[in-house]
């Protein structure tokens, strides 16, 4: 002890010990108390903020079904390839991964190497790869024993199994699955669902921490749409329209609307030319490519987006056009409804009518002479309707114009619906305006407005709301919402509607559009040709050809409006351009919808035979069907089943016409189209039969029997069995 510590040492040691143990340890304890207990929850929250990372979980976008639950748009599972450079340790692995992914995905290797050097743990290098490619990557990973560095994240890709079918209606989606056009836009929130979240604890480099801290908010998959659209009708209509557009050299596209006039359901809505929603940004049409090629480099991009925009534009609902003579059915309705005119009201057409200082000509320069309202409609006499219009007067005209829904949007559930363009906003118009308006000129409406207004005539006077979505269903098939909009109003009386329908039926039976008559069905129709004011080529007159029909007239099930913008073919008139596709479509649609036609012997001879579908049938069976119908089959090839036929199903050809049945890839020699113009109808049929071609004649005037136009040009090479539409008599007399 004496040798050990002294008292002073002990005292001083004591001071040191006290300071160290009591003072400092107390300070530290208080500090910890402050940090852990007083501000503990705040720091814990802050720590959580950096530890918890949320990963977006994509919902599956809803399916778009047609009315028979045929999927038109659906989402397939695809994968995004994510590179996680932070987990790639060695340069050799970087090299291996870059090389491997380069081989599988085709991404430049330098780019991959560069990305793998980055300090990151999440770099998407390829989006939406299909399962084949994904499997290749999985195989590559397992083969080279790569556990970290490449990650595959599930995603969805929009897929349209019917390719171009109804593309304008369906629209398409962008890279993030957002709707960019058509129904995809209109019902984006319904289809899109809700994004889910996977909240999980992540370490500082972004991988999962192994402790149990995971909270998943599952994505809510999008709901499904069931359309009123029928994909069978849609494909019938698209096929016909496409053919008509090509044959008539229609420059500015065309559209066809098929509706159920009773409830406004859209059964088909075809726009030519559409696009392929699977590749919405691809321009594949040779004509467009040609245009692009001739565009100077600096304007190329602008032109390209113009073309793409034009393709997406829904001509049937966005375009504004003069309805032309089709509007005369509205004029007749107003006249009857107001009691100003009846079927027997007499008009006298002298080939023109003077309004104020201007004379408006009838298309028949010599005049139709005295005729009643039915005759005026059947002959589409301009002066008759102009004088009817003058009787109605501007105010009442505008009232009915509004009542028929031309001055409001129809409310169709598609984006981009256009509005009308009237002479003035409040309905003021000059008498000369009224005169041209009476024949459907100088005011613009949309095709869907015209079709909807015509529905009112077909359904007994009710203005329906056209719509294309029937139901919204969840993934279990439960109907969440169904759409059955009530008629907007009664526009004309049921009686007026019936009387106008009768006049239109007569027009299709013996009037200007009698070649639209389908044996066995009661078709009511009216064609129209209107002058375009916004000309494509200045100085040249451009027209819009259209045709409206519905059937059966006693209880209309289907209403169809066909519309071709700027036909530059043999004829620009509504009847020759639009009746063949409309009639061919109707001819298929009506039986498809369960309205079976009953032909008699006479009708068969007179109106020809509807070509049956022989594809997929056994050769013997196909032969038998053809012979039974009175057609002459020619079998080409050595196969057992029919793979192709000319003419196509639904086309109408004369009794005893040729049908070429192909059973394999071999093809018959092509035939040069002869000149039919100027021949008698019977001679034309004989000539066609001898060459193995088919003839379908249409014409408005029974007196004149000479062929005035033919649908295919002379000396064009076509397949045997091709149908050539000819117009008998003066095709110009019907409007």
């Amino acid at each position: 002890m004496i040798k050990g510590s002294t008292i002073r040492m002990r005292r001083r040691t004591l001071i040191v010990a006290f300071v160290t143990i009591f003072v400092f340890f107390t300070i530290l304890s208080v500090r910890l108390f402050y940090l852990q207990i007083i501000s503990g929850s705040y720091l814990f929250k802050m720590a959580n903020l950096q530890q918890l990372a949320s990963t977006k979980l994509s919902p599956r976008r809803g399916v778009i079904y047609d009315r028979n639950m045929v999927p038109l748009a659906q989402s397939a599972t695809v994968w995004n390839v994510v590179l996680e450079p932070n987990y790639i340790k060695t340069d050799a692995t970087k090299e291996l991964i870059s090389q491997g992914l380069h081989e599988i995905l085709g991404t430049p290797k330098e780019k991959l190497l560069e990305l793998s050097e980055k300090k990151s743990c999440y770099t998407i290098i390829e989006k939406k790869i299909d399962s084949d490619t994904k499997n290749k990557i999985v195989e590559f990973k397992s083969k080279n024993n790569i556990t970290n560095g490449i990650r595959l994240i599930e995603d969805y890709k929009r897929y349209y199994p019917k390719e171009t079918l109804a593309s304008t209606v369906l629209g398409f989606t962008g890279s993030d699955g957002q709707g960019l056009a058509g129904l995809e836009t209109q019902y984006d929130s319904v289809l899109g669902g809700e994004e889910g979240k996977l909240v999980s604890a992540k370490n500082a480099i972004g991988t999962d921490m192994p402790y149990d801290y995971e909270h998943m908010i599952p994505p809510k998959d999008g709901n499904n749409l069931v359309l009123t659209l029928d994909s069978t009708i849609q494909s019938i209509v698209e096929e016909r329209l496409k053919k008509a557009i090509e044959e008539n050299d229609v420059r500015n596209r065309g559209a066809m609307i098929v509706m159920n006039p009773k409830n406004g359901e859209i059964l088909a809505l075809a726009v030519e030319k559409g696009f392929n929603p699977n590749k919405p940004f691809e321009i594949s049409d040779p004509k467009d490519l040609e245009i692009l090629k001739n565009t100077p480099e600096e304007e190329k991009q602008k032109k390209e987006s113009e073309i793409l925009f034009e393709k997406c534009r829904n001509k049937a609902i966005s375009d504004n056009y003069y309805p032309g003579s089709v509007f005369k059915i509205i004029m007749a309705s107003i006249g009857l409804e107001l009691g100003i005119a009846n079927e027997e009201t007499n008009f006298n057409c002298t080939g023109g009518i003077k309004i104020g200082g201007d004379t408006i000509r009838c298309h028949k320069r010599s005049g139709h002479g005295p005729l009643n309202l039915v005759g005026a409609l059947c002959k589409s006499c301009n002066p008759a309707f102009i004088s009817l219009g003058q009787e109605i007067g501007t105010k009442r005209f505008f009232d009915f114009y509004k009542s028929f829904g031309f001055h409001e949007k129809t409310g169709i559930d598609l984006p981009g619906e256009g509005s009308d363009i009237f002479f003035s906003k409040n309905g003021d118009m000059h008498l000369i305006d009224l005169a041209v308006a009476s024949i459907g000129q100088n005011f613009g409406i949309t095709p869907i407005q015209m079709a909807t207004a015509a529905c009112a005539i077909a359904n007994g006077g009710k203005l329906v709301t056209p719509h294309i979505v029937k139901e919204i269903r969840d993934n279990d098939g439960n109907v969440i919402q169904s759409f059955d909009p009530k008629p907007r109003r009664q526009v004309i009386s049921e009686e007026t509607a019936k009387r106008v329908t009768a006049m239109m039926e007569q027009n299709a039976t013996s009037g200007g559009v009698k070649n639209a008559y389908i044996p066995g069905f009661r078709v009511a129709g009216k064609s129209g040709t209107s002058e375009k004011k916004d000309l494509l080529v200045p100085g040249e007159k451009d027209y819009i050809a259209s045709f409206l029909e519905f059937a059966p007239a006693n209880d209309p099930e289907v209403l169809l409006l066909c519309y071709a913008d700027t036909p530059k073919g043999r004829s620009y008139y509504g009847a020759p351009v639009c009746i063949p596709p409309s009639t061919a479509s109707m001819n298929e649609i009506l039986p498809y919808m369960g309205v079976q036609p009953q032909y008699n012997e006479e009708e068969m001879k007179k109106y020809g035979i509807k070509v049956p579908n022989l594809i997929d049938k056994k050769v013997e069976e196909a032969k038998k069907i053809s012979i039974d119908l009175g057609l002459r089959p020619t079998i080409v090839g050595k196969g057992e089943t029919v793979i192709r036929q000319t003419p196509y199903r639904g086309e109408r050809i004369s009794l005893g016409g040729n049908i070429i049945i192909y059973t394999d890839d071999s093809s018959e020699e092509k035939v040069k189209v002869p000149n039919f113009v100027g021949l008698k109808k019977s001679d034309a049929v004989k000539l066609a039969e001898s060459l193995g071609l088919n003839i379908f004649a249409s014409g408005s005037n029974g007196d004149d029997d000479t062929v005035s136009t033919q649908s295919l040009a002379e000396s064009e090479l076509v397949d045997k069995g091709t149908t050539i539409n000819i117009v008998v008599g003066s095709g110009e007399s019907e409007d």
Partner: protein
């Protein structure tokens, strides 16, 4: 209580001596019991048990804190760090018991060679390539260590020796100040050159405490402190030369202000960890901050992980263990048979105490961030080995102290 006890002993010496045998008989009895399981009698069992307990807790916490880093950054080998540490801990404990059997008084004669070796190392390390801008680490074959660890010990040893020798003349400048300055100034300068500010601070504090206990006149502290404080005030108030230190201070005051441009990541992550622990902690092994948020959580900031996993309760328990260890170290030292033993034991104990306090103060952002490891917890094999060897010296002192009869 402590004070009273000490006074009692110094005042009534014979009485105390008479009383003790009975008390130590009991102790001896205990020792015999423990002897059965192979521990040599004579050393201070509470201190030894505290050391072993701290080593054990330290290893568990070190493993918990290190395995995410080991897993993510060392190819999935979760045992990358702990394996090494356990080996050194085992060797260290054997060394500790070995050292405890030697007569620590022999160290007196070794103080000059050890001092010279430590200076040589300090000079060599300055010639080494810098790691992260500092030269603190030396590699001798497979063994890597910080020469500053040896410096600290050599200062303690030489100070204890010289104070013991000059004890009667400690009040004079020539014997009480000059020899110590001759050792201390070059040592502290070389450390500052590395630079190793935290170790320099520890050495300064250690020297001051030892001289204080050694009995120098208190005015010397005033002589030294006044110009230093004046100089520091000048630097802080009238210059911006201490930008490095200043930005540290800025980061210290606002660890959550990310806009200042000061890298406070480690401090911030440490505080998140401590705060996340709350009262009871997230449970052993459940720290989240150790998942690469906290840089090197097994190193200087291991106490943050301790706080996060064991909570305030666990942290305070460990603080109490540390305090008890220091207290016991002081008791052993103060009762050493000779002055040299007292000074050496106090020096070692205080070195451990200073490091613990500074480390926890840094981790809890009580003082600005500087690199100080936590004894018994932080990763580092050689430093653990040296720590345990020094604990062995304290045990050796305890064998000869007045705690024991013979």
């Amino acid at each position: 209580m402590f004070k009273k006890k000490n006074n009692d002993k110094s005042k009534i010496k014979p009485k105390g001596a008479n009383l003790k045998p009975e008390r130590y008989k009991k102790n001896k009895f205990k020792f015999r019991n423990i002897k059965i399981i192979g521990i040599k009698s004579g050393m201070d069992i509470p201190f030894m048990l505290l050391v072993l307990l701290l080593v054990a807790i330290g290893l568990v916490m070190m493993f918990s804190a290190s395995y995410p880093n080991a897993f993510y950054l060392h190819h999935g080998d979760s045992f990358f760090f702990i394996r090494n540490q356990v080996i050194y801990a085992i060797i260290g404990i054997l060394v500790m018991f070995g050292v405890s059997k030697f007569d620590y008084r022999n160290l007196k004669t070794l103080h000059i060679p050890i001092l010279i070796i430590s200076f040589i190392f300090l000079l060599i390390v300055l010639a080494m390539p810098p790691i992260n801008g500092v030269r603190r680490w030396m590699q001798l074959g497979p063994i890597g260590f910080q020469p500053s660890e040896i410096t600290k010990f050599s200062i303690i040893l030489s100070f204890a020796t010289i104070i013991d020798k000059n004890f009667e003349k400690m009040g004079t400048f020539r014997y009480g100040i000059l020899p110590f300055l001759m050792i201390f100034i070059p040592a502290a300068s070389l450390l500052a050159l590395e630079p190793h500010i935290s170790c320099t601070v520890i050495v300064i504090l250690l020297a001051a405490i030892m001289l204080f206990i050694g009995g120098i006149k208190l005015r010397w502290f005033a002589y030294v402190l006044t110009p230093i404080l004046a100089f520091l005030s000048y630097l802080v108030l009238f210059t911006n030369k201490l930008t490095y230190a200043n930005s540290r201070i800025a980061g210290w005051l606002n660890p959550f202000d990310k806009s200042s441009g000061v890298d406070t990541w480690q401090t911030r992550q440490g505080l998140y960890a401590i705060g996340s622990g709350g009262i009871f902690g997230l449970g052993l092994g459940n720290s989240r901050q150790k998942y690469l948020f906290l840089p090197e959580p097994y190193n200087d900031f291991i106490f943050a992980v301790v706080c996060e996993e064991l909570g305030f309760i666990g942290a305070v328990f460990i603080l109490i263990l540390f305090a008890t260890l220091i207290w016991r170290g002081i008791v052993i030292s103060i009762r050493a048979k000779d002055r040299f033993g007292t000074l050496l034991g106090l020096g070692i104990t205080m070195q451990v105490g200073i490091q613990i306090i500074l480390n926890i103060a840094v981790v809890s952002n009580t003082i600005p961030n500087t690199g100080i490891s936590l004894p018994f917890f932080s990763y580092g094999g050689t430093s653990l080995l040296m720590l345990l060897a020094q604990m062995g010296i304290i045990l050796a002192i305890s064998r000869r102290s007045n705690l024991e009869k013979t």
